[in-house]
Symmetry: C2
Subunit: 140 residues, 2 copies
Amino acid sequence: MLIVQEGLHSEPVPVTRLELCKVQLMNDASFPWIILVPDLPNIQEIYQLETADRALLMEEIAQASRVIVNLYKPDKLNIGSMGNLVSNLHIHVIGRFHDDRAWPGPVWGHGPVHSYNKEDLRETCKRLRQAFATVTGTSA
Amino acid sequence: MLIVQEGLHSEPVPVTRLELCKVQLMNDASFPWIILVPDLPNIQEIYQLETADRALLMEEIAQASRVIVNLYKPDKLNIGSMGNLVSNLHIHVIGRFHDDRAWPGPVWGHGPVHSYNKEDLRETCKRLRQAFATVTGTSA
């Protein structure tokens, strides 16, 4: 993966949207790293969602998991709702590899960030959109 | 909280069980830290569960969240499915505080572990069982 920028912070990039969540790509080529953001105001924690939205969120977590498994064949998935720095509810879905830089620790706070270059970023978002369309049975 | 042992590793302690999951307490008094273990064989990832079990898991995550919020009033919840070291599916539900030792980073790999003493451990498990009974509408 070509890298054009190295830093401590990564900005998420819009990819697509699902029934409940906006799908973003963490702009760190070190890990296949999707963020699901329920498109609802003023929600910080999963238990604050309505039951039906929680079930929907769970299915969208499963969809994002399958997208990462299909595209990247990771050794493990890490899924987390943290929000210690950005409190609005968002779920990380990350493909992990035995030889990735943070293994077996968590990825958060384990920099430096390796941003995608412009072309790789566009291509990765396109592949993710297609993979989500396949997994959800919609058109990309 | 009285502490009788300090180390790098913590063993989870059985607390109760829910419809899908066994509930365990991480034996680290540094954080209110529950582990949900779906009582099913050979499952490593959330997406491998049946849809109905995923919905149930989500509700049990919400129940564990409410238990921690009711008992500990944390500043934030951290919820995660990692499994990089223990691959069988298990979900961490952790109460976080702005002044806890790992804030704002993740708790995993952020030792040392402060085990509960025997009496605190028994008392904490009892309070958790009662709180789960309240949240789930069952008897403790």
